[in-house]
C-alpha cells in the first residue's frame, strides 16, 4: 500500500502550550495504541502547530470527521482508539463544552471560539504539519512566491501591498507598502530583509505560534519581500527562548533550500535569496529595529537615532526592510487573493485581521485572529467566553508594556490602530490581558512599568532615569506612602519621557501609567489620600477582614487557616479578628461556610 492514503488523520497539537500540557506523551501513547490495534497503516498521526485554544490543550483533531477533542490525557488515548478510530463512535466526554450553554460541540468550526475568527495569518496553524513542506504546498503554499517572482515586477508587488492597506503588525502600524517603497527606492549593490520575531511583551505569543505552526508562510513572505525591494539576503531575528520555533524554522529553511525555493535562480527567475536565523539573547529592546540590527551586527543591542531609517542605512549600512512576523504572514494571502479582497476586510484605515493573545481572567485563553473593527465585547465575551468565575469585567490591557488599560465603558469599541490610540492604549503586537474587579490598577501599572524599567537599555536619560523615578513613585503609592502631588508628578514625568526618549520602548513606557491615571484615577487617589487599596491587592493598604457576629456559627474553621493567628474566640460562640494582626490575605473568608467574613 502506498504511504499517502490514510482513512483517518489524527492531528495532535505540538505547539509549546500543548507540549507543556503533555502532548508528546499523548503522541507516543497513540503510536503504541495504533500499533497494538493494527491500525498503523490506516491512520496517520500528524503533529501540528498551535490551534490557538491553549486553554483546552492538549488538543487532538480527528479527520475525516473533524472531531475536536480537548484536554486529552494519556489514559484517554486507548478509549479514543478503541471507540472512535476502531468503531467510529465519538468519545463524547472529551468534546469541548461551550461555557455559556454547557453544550458539547463535536466539530472544530462550530465552537464559538473559532466561529467569530477570521484566519489569514493563522490559516494553516493547527491544520498542517509545520515540518512538512509538502503539506504547506498542498494547501497552496509558495504559489504566491511563484506568481510574484515569475509574473510580477517589484513595482507591481509594492503597489499591491500598498493598495491592500496592510499596516505593520508589530505595533507601530506603519503602512507596509510604503516601507517597501522606501527600501526599493534606495539603490545599492546589497540590500537586506529582516523578519522581526523578537516577541517580548509579557503574555504575547502570536509570532511564536506562527513560526511554530506555519514557518513556510514566513519564508514565503520574506521571499516576496526580498524580490520586491531587491534584496538577496535575509535574517529572521528570533529570541533564543523560542527553541521550538527556531527548530521548526530551521527545518523549513532546509526543506525550502532542498526544493530550490531558497538559493539561486528561484523559480527560474534569476532571483537569488538566502535566509539565516539570528538568535536573540532575550533583551526586550532588541525588538526595536535599530537595536535589532545592532544585535545582528554583533554589537550591543541598543537603539540608534532615526533618521537614517533602515530603508536608507540599515544592516551593515545597507538599505534594509524590517517587518514583523505577522505582517509577513499576510503577504502570501495578499499576492494570491489580491489587494481588493484583503482590503475588503477591516475598517477604513486598518485593513485585514489582527492576531491577539488573549490572556488574563478569561475562560478561553488562547490565540485569536479577528477582522479589524471587531469590538472588544465580541473578543472578550463571544470568543473569550467571558470572565473566569463570571466575575465583573474591569479593564482590558492591550499593547503590552507599551499599551494601556481600557475600561468597561469602551467595550463596544471596534478594535483598530486608530481607535485604540484614541482611548490611550495601542494595538502593540497584540497582547490582550483581561482584568476583573479583583485587580488593582495601580499595581498593574507598576507591573508593566517595572518590566520596561528593567528592560531599558540605559542609553538615553529620559528612559533610564525617568522610568526609574516613575517606578519609585508607584512603589511608594502601593506601599501606602503616596504623597499629595505624586499623581501630578507621574503625569509630568510620563509626558516628558514620551516626548524625549530615544526609541519606542521609552516613548511608550509611560502609557500603562498614563492610561490608568486617565480611567482609574480614583484608585490612585484612594491609595494616596484614603490609605486604601480598593481591590485589596496592595498588602500594606488592604482593608482588614471582619467577622459578622450575627452570621458566625462558631465553627472555628477560620482559626485553622489564619496564617498569623489573628482570629480568636469572642465573648459568645462567635469569633473575632484582630485588625492589628490581620494581613488581609482573605484565607478565612474563603474558608467560612456561611460567608460571615467580609473585607472592610
Amino acid at each position: 500500500m502506498k504511504d499517502t492514503i490514510y482513512r483517518s488523520h489524527v492531528l495532535i497539537c505540538t505547539g509549546t502550550g500543548c507540549v507543556s500540557s503533555g502532548a508528546k506523551n499523548i503522541k507516543h501513547e497513540l503510536q503504541d495504541e495504533l500499533a497494538d490495534n493494527d491500525l498503523k497503516n490506516e491512520i496517520k498521526i500528524v503533529e501540528t502547530g498551535c490551534h490557538g485554544f491553549c486553554e483546552k490543550g492538549p488538543i487532538m483533531v480527528v479527520y475525516p470527521e473533524g472531531v475536536f477533542y480537548c484536554q486529552v490525557k494519556e489514559e484517554d488515548v486507548s478509549e479514543i482508539v478503541e471507540e472512535h478510530l476502531l468503531k467510529g463512535r465519538i468519545v463524547e466526554r472529551l468534546l469541548f463544552k461551550e461555557p455559556m450553554t454547557e453544550e458539547s460541540i463535536p466539530s472544530y468550526e462550530d465552537i464559538d471560539f473559532y466561529k467569530k475568527q477570521h484566519r489569514i495569518a493563522l490559516a494553516n496553524c493547527g491544520k498542517i504539519n509545520p515540518e512538512s513542506i509538502n503539506e504547506y504546498i498542498a494547501n497552496g503554499g509558495y504559489e504566491a512566491a511563484g506568481k510574484a517572482l515569475t509574473q510580477m515586477t517589484p513595482e507591481e508587488i509594492i503597489k499591491e501591498v500598498k493598495e491592500a492597506g496592510l499596516r505593520g503588525r508589530g505595533g507601530g502600524g506603519f503602512p507596509t507598502g510604503l516601507k517597501w517603497q522606501f527600501a526599493f527606492d534606495n539603490n545599492s549593490d546589497k540590500k537586506y530583509v529582516i523578519c522581526n520575531a523578537d516577541e517580548g511583551d509579557p503574555g504575547a505569543f502570536m509570532d511564536r505560534s506562527v513560526l511554530e505552526g506555519d514557518p513556510h508562510r514566513i519564508i514565503e513572505g520574506m521571499l516576496i519581500n526580498a524580490y520586491a525591494i531587491g534584496a538577496d539576503e535575509g535574517y529572521v531575528y528570533v529570541r533564543a527562548e523560542y527553541p521550538l520555533a527556531i527548530d521548526r524554522l530551521q527545518k523549513a529553511i532546509d526543506a525550502a533550500e532542498d526544493l530550490g525555493l531558497l538559493g539561486e535562480d528561484i523559480f527560474g527567475s534569476g532571483f537569488n535569496f538566502n535566509l539565516h536565523i539570528k538568535k536573540g539573547a532575550g533583551a526586550f529592546v532588541c525588538g526595536e529595529e535599530t537595536a535589532l540590527m545592532a544585535s545582528i551586527e554583533g554589537k550591543r543591542g541598543m537603539p540608534n537615532p532615526r533618521p537614517p531609517y533602515p530603508a536608507e542605512k540599515g544592516l551593515w549600512g545597507k538599505p534594509t526592510n524590517i517587518n514583523n512576523v505577522e505582517t509577513l504572514a499576510n503577504i502570501p494571502y495578499i499576492i494570491n487573493e489580491g489587494s481588493e479582497v484583503f482590503s475588503s476586510i477591516g475598517t477604513e484605515n486598518s485593513k485585514g485581521t489582527k492576531v491577539f493573545a488573549l490572556t488574563g481572567k478569561i475562560k478561553n485563553t488562547g490565540l485569536v485572529e479577528v477582522p479589524m473593527g471587531t469590538t472588544l465585547q465580541e473578543v472578550v465575551y463571544d470568543i473569550g467566553g467571558g470572565l473566569t468565575d463570571d466575575k465583573d469585567f474591569k479593564a482590558i490591557q492591550t499593547g503590552g508594556p507599551s499599551g494601556g488599560c481600557i475600561p468597561e465603558d469602551y467595550l463596544a469599541l471596534p478594535i483598530d490602530y486608530d481607535s485604540l490610540i484614541e482611548v490611550g492604549a495601542m494595538m502593540g503586537s497584540g497582547g490582550m490581558v483581561v482584568m476583573d474587579d479583583s485587580t488593582c490598577m495601580v499595581d498593574v501599572a507598576r507591573f508593566f512599568l517595572s518590566f520596561t524599567q528593567s528592560e531599558s537599555c540605559g542609553k538615553c536619560t529620559p528612559c533610564r532615569e525617568g522610568t526609574k523615578r516613575m517606578l519609585e513613585i508607584l512603589n511608594r503609592i502601593c506601599d501606602g506612602e503616596g504623597k499629595d502631588g505624586d499623581i501630578r508628578l507621574l503625569e509630568q514625568l510620563g509626558e516628558h519621557i514620551k516626548d524625549t526618549a530615544l526609541c519606542g520602548l521609552g516613548q511608550t513606557a509611560p502609557n500603562p501609567v498614563l492610561s490608568t491615571l486617565q480611567y482609574f484615577r480614583n484608585e490612585y487617589e484612594a491609595h494616596i489620600y484614603d490609605n486604601k487599596c480598593p481591590a485589596g491587592v496592595c498588602e500594606e493598604l488592604a482593608a482588614s477582614f471582619t467577622i459578622n457576629i450575627d452570621s458566625c456559627i462558631g465553627c472555628g474553621q477560620c482559626v485553622k487557616v489564619c496564617p498569623v493567628d489573628a482570629i480568636s474566640k469572642g465573648d459568645g460562640k462567635y469569633y473575632i479578628i484582630d485588625e492589628e494582626v490581620c494581613i488581609s490575605c482573605g484565607a478565612c473568608a474563603k474558608k467560612c461556610p456561611v460567608d460571615a467574613i467580609f473585607q472592610g
Binding site: 482513512r7 503539506e135 504546498i137 509574473q151 526544493l259
Partner: protein, 121 residues
C-alpha cells in the same frame, strides 16, 4: 523545482496526502464497526475499501459507525453519494466491496442484489 509549473505539478502530487482533511462534498463510505461488525469481518471490509481507494486514486471519505441493530447482516457498509440516497449493503465479502466501489461509488449505479436498506435523502 525550476518554475511555477513545477510547483503546481508537485502540489497535485502532495494534495493526495491531505485529502483526508479536506471536508468537501465527497462520496462517503461508512462501515459498521460495532462488536458484531468486527466479529463478522468488518476490518477486512475496511481494508478492502482502502486498497480500492489507493488503487483507483479515489477521493472519498471513509468513516465507521457502531452497531445499527442489523447484526444478522454484518458486515455492513453504507454508501452515500452527495445528493443521493444512503444505501446500506449487507453480508459482504471483499469481492463485493470491489463491485460496490466500481459500480456504485465510481459510476453511481447501485448494486441492487446486495442492498438491504435505503435511507432517502
Amino acid at each position: 523545482m525550476k518554475s511555477l509549473e513545477d510547483l503546481r505539478e508537485m502540489r497535485k502530487e502532495v494534495e493526495k496526502e491531505m485529502q483526508t482533511r479536506k471536508n468537501t462534498n465527497k462520496p462517503k463510505v461508512i462501515i459498521g464497526m460495532g462488536t458484531c461488525g468486527i466479529a463478522a469481518g468488518a476490518r477486512e471490509i475496511l481494508q478492502a475499501v482502502m486498497e480500492e481507494m489507493d488503487k483507483r486514486d479515489l477521493d472519498i471519505e471513509v468513516t465507521q459507525t457502531g452497531c445499527i441493530g442489523m447484526c444478522e447482516k454484518e458486515p455492513l457498509m453504507d454508501v452515500k453519494l452527495p445528493g443521493k440516497d444512503r444505501i446500506t449493503y449487507g453480508n459482504l465479502d471483499k469481492e463485493d466491496v470491489k463491485r460496490i466501489i466500481v459500480n456504485h461509488v465510481i459510476n453511481g449505479n447501485v448494486v441492487d442484489e446486495l442492498v438491504i436498506a435505503r435511507l432517502e435523502e
